[in-house]
Structure formats: C-alpha cells, structure tokens
C-alpha cells in the first residue's frame, strides 16, 4: 500500500491540486541529463542546438513529465498511482516558468480499489501546453 496522504472520501470531482511553479534553468537540463542518461546535445549544448536551428537548448520532454509527476504524487501520495500517461505538445525553454495543473475528473470504486482519475498538464505562464495527460491513483479509504 502506498502513502496514505489523501483519502478517497476527501476528494471531490473538480478538486484541483496545488499548482507547482518551477522556472526552468540550464542547470535543470544538465541535472536531468545526468540523472536520466539522456545526453542528446539539444538539451545541454547551446552551440549544437543553435546550429540545428533552435533558439537555444531546450528541456527534455521526460523532465516535463517528471516535474508534473512530482506535483501529482505531492497530491495523491507516493506509490498510489496505477497509471500515468502524457502527450508531449511543445518544447520548454530555459527561463520559462512552468506550472502544473491537476484536476480530479472522476472517482470510482472497482472491487476493493478506490480510484481517482486526474486530468493533468504542464503549461508556461502564458498557458501554452507543454505536456498534457492523465493519471489514476488508488487511494486509501476510511471505510
């Protein structure tokens, strides 16, 4: 069983998780490259990125998915997810403020599982979607 941080009974459809804000830095890109093993130079080598026609280095898609996951587990607790899926929509850039958006779409009981479906996305401050997807968590019940 996972972390009993949020109980099924305490969640309502339409509830929103706290927004997490993070301003992307080049250090984030280097740290994620090292931690993930993704050394595509587009994410750390400004000279190569510009030569390829990019305005600068840009963030790993999986960094965006991971940052959004941090906000998801902050909300539903760790080791409770049963599913997490995203579509990568646009690139992230150093200096951009990234914001997480997590909303409860549905609640359902399946056997002894108390499932909460979440819509989630990561955007910049202007509302441009970076990644968008959904997650399902199996929460503890007070019943």
């Amino acid at each position: 069983m996972g972390e009993a941080k949020l109980h099924f009974e305490d969640v309502l459809e339409g509830d929103e998780a706290p927004v997490v804000s993070h301003t992307l830095s080049r250090t984030d890109l280097v740290r994620y490259a090292g931690a993930s093993g993704d050394y595509n130079p587009m994410h750390h080598d400004e000279i190569i990125a510009k030569a390829a026609g990019q305005p600068s280095v840009f963030g790993h898609g999986m960094f965006s998915m991971g940052l959004l996951a941090t906000a998801v587990t902050d909300y539903v607790g760790i080791d409770n997810l049963t599913r997490y899926k995203v579509r990568f929509s646009s690139q992230t850039w150093p200096g951009e403020e990234l914001l997480t958006h997590i909303t409860v779409r549905a609640k359902r009981v399946e056997g002894d599982r108390h499932l909460v479906d979440l819509d989630c996305s990561l955007t910049n401050a202007g509302g441009e979607i970076k990644v968008v997807g959904e997650a399902t968590a199996d929460l503890s019940s007070k019943a």
């Binding site: 984030d28 740290r31 931690a35 993930s36 898609g61 941090t70 080791d79 899926k85």
Partner: protein, 166 residues
C-alpha cells in the same frame, strides 16, 4: 512491399530483454532531477514512516532505470538481436525529418522499490503512419513489461511512442 506493410511487419517483434537492479543513489539523484525533495526517496526510515515498504522510485524513473542498473554480468543471454524500431526509423531518418517523443505511458501494477531486481521484455505493439498538415507522421509504439525477477509478478509496463515527422 509498401511502407505500411513494412510498418505492420514489425508489430509484435521483440525489442529488448534486460535485467535491472534498482539502487538507492540513482533513485535519489533522479528525484532531485525532477524537483522532488521528498525525503522518502533518500531515506528508508522516512519511507517507512510514510507507510511505504521501502524507498520508492519517482513515477517516471522506470523510463531511465536501464541507464543505471543494467549490469553486464546479470544480463540474460537470450536478449533479442537487432532493434525493429531502428529498422523502421533508420531508413526514414535517411530521408530527413525529425524524431519526436510523442507520448509516454506508465502502468503501475505494484510499487517499485530500491533493492528490487526487475526483468523487462519489450516488443513493438503498434506501428502506423498518417498524413497531418502536409507532413507524414510515422508512429512506432514499444511496450516494455517489467517483472519481479524473483516472483515473476508484473511491476510496471511502459509504452513509448516515437514519431518520425517529415
């Protein structure tokens, strides 16, 4: 053979068979990299206090666990040869265009913790192309199921959707 037949031909083909060890250092480092300061990723006593059975891994760590724990001496000797995804994408890249990570999905069957040893088997589960806004988009989806090396129970399934766009 048409390009569509060429794509359909790879569906079902195995892509990988790998054994990984989940270690504490890489997990803590990965948590830092996704801006998660929660002590449960770093300290077993904190994890136990949170009601967990061990140090957990961040939700997207399974995408990177081969980077860390795929030690040479524990690899199965029956890993598939060749990479069907590269067989399709290689010739497409030779024509130009770009490769994009289109979608990523994780299905969690049970929590993954530090100390686990998992065996992952990957295969191509979908491959198709379509026209969109004057571009040709070719999609290849690889599904990898990671099972506990001792019990054989599934732990996590990943679906990796790669797009070639030209």
């Amino acid at each position: 053979m048409s390009e569509d037949d060429e794509l359909k031909r790879i569906i079902g083909k195995p892509t990988s068979r790998a054994k990984v060890v989940i270690e504490r250092g890489p997990v803590a480092n990965f948590a830092t990299a996704v801006c998660d300061a929660n002590p449960v990723y770093r300290d077993e006593s904190a994890a136990r206090r949170a009601g967990l059975d061990g140090i957990p891994v961040p939700p997207t760590f399974p995408f990177s666990m081969e980077t860390w724990g795929k030690f040479v001496e524990i690899q199965p000797d029956d890993a598939p040869e060749g990479n069907p995804m590269a067989e399709v994408l290689g010739p497409l890249m030779a024509k130009g265009g770009i490769i994009l990570h289109g979608e990523q999905e994780f299905e969690y069957h049970r929590p993954v913790h530090v100390g686990d040893v998992l065996i992952g088997e990957g295969r191509i589960v979908d491959a198709y192309s379509k026209e969109s806004k004057g571009k040709t988009m070719t999609f290849v989806v690889t599904e990898t199921t990671w099972r506990d090396s001792v019990t054989g129970e599934p732990a996590v399934t990943t679906r990796f959707n790669v797009i070639h766009r030209i």
